[in-house]
Symmetry: C2
Subunit: 188 residues, 2 copies
Amino acid sequence: MTEELPTRDRLIQAATRLFRQRGYDGTGLTEILTEAGVPKGSLYHHFPDGKADLACAAADWTASEIIRVIDDSFRTAPDWRHGVTTFCYKMAKLFDILDSADACPIFGLLFEGPDHDRFRTQAERSFDRIIAAAARYGQALGMAPDTAQDAAETFIIGFQGCWTLARTRRKSDILRSLPSRLYGAPSQ
Amino acid sequence: MTEELPTRDRLIQAATRLFRQRGYDGTGLTEILTEAGVPKGSLYHHFPDGKADLACAAADWTASEIIRVIDDSFRTAPDWRHGVTTFCYKMAKLFDILDSADACPIFGLLFEGPDHDRFRTQAERSFDRIIAAAARYGQALGMAPDTAQDAAETFIIGFQGCWTLARTRRKSDILRSLPSRLYGAPSQ
DNA sequence: GAAAGACTAGACCGATCGGTCTAACAATGC
DNA sequence: GCATTGTTAGACCGATCGGTCTAGTCTTTC
């Protein structure tokens, strides 16, 4: 018996994939429904506010996935740099596996969408969750709370910038270059 | 006599503004035309491929504007860090003047649009122009060519990441924090 | 002044858009 | 078996979408 995802999850995952490729406004509900194999009535049942609800769920889900990669990368890391490096290598691998033209739905939410403030708040929450997850590992590795928070922010800022440039150039090596950019910066 | 912009420029600037706020797919031609005060026939005259042409022109124009800020920031800078710092302060000021929810159209192009590869190529070109402009100042300040290129990439990667987080949090201070993140990184 | 090219103007078009809504089916509890 | 709740199903709707196209005006050249 094939493991079948609940309807709601099928919608979220289909939406995540399509929002990644086309952005929020560039993705029509019909495409999502077709990919998820779900009728329209079900969409509004599970997400009463429709497309916007779905987008926020997609961002939450994506943040959770990224946090999972952070967990896998930092759990056994001997130091911060090692954790960051492992994360970048894992994400670079994902980048190669997925179509490299795909964006992250969290970023996409920032740039578009009718309900501007809602999306910005959702993006903020998603970023904050990711940064907090990384900061916890910073602390576990011996950093003071403020230092860990700063390090985590810088890491995620840099990662996000690298992801964007990597997508532009279609080169996952840019993701792998993040640790040396942050921790082996050129001297003045 | 009021200085009146040529039609083409009016279209580009209106598009730049609206793409920034709403993204490519979230912005309709009617809105652009209304804001620019230009009829539809003119749009297709100046931009035969329509909306996509206009988006690419908007990205080019935006890159030129960013390069202008780089020029203003680095022209009299005594060292690299000083140039980066000035740039960040100028952009933070712009961030406060403009609606902070606005994105940069270059980023927007990456996440959406029907003609995917064209937009990616355009974004690549725009980013490369910006990075090259910064790298030239790195060299003028005494860096070896490779080092200057790396420093410029890291700077733009970091800036772009900071811009995104600043937008999420509606705090221009994140932009101002970039130099200390890059050049005063926490030690391991 | 006429011709050609550049540019403006806006009606029209088929397609897609996201949301609404009614009907039907499935699951659970009594 | 019936009632209630949860969930699926898809037709329908008005609005918006970007592009096409014809007609008109303006500018330049001969």
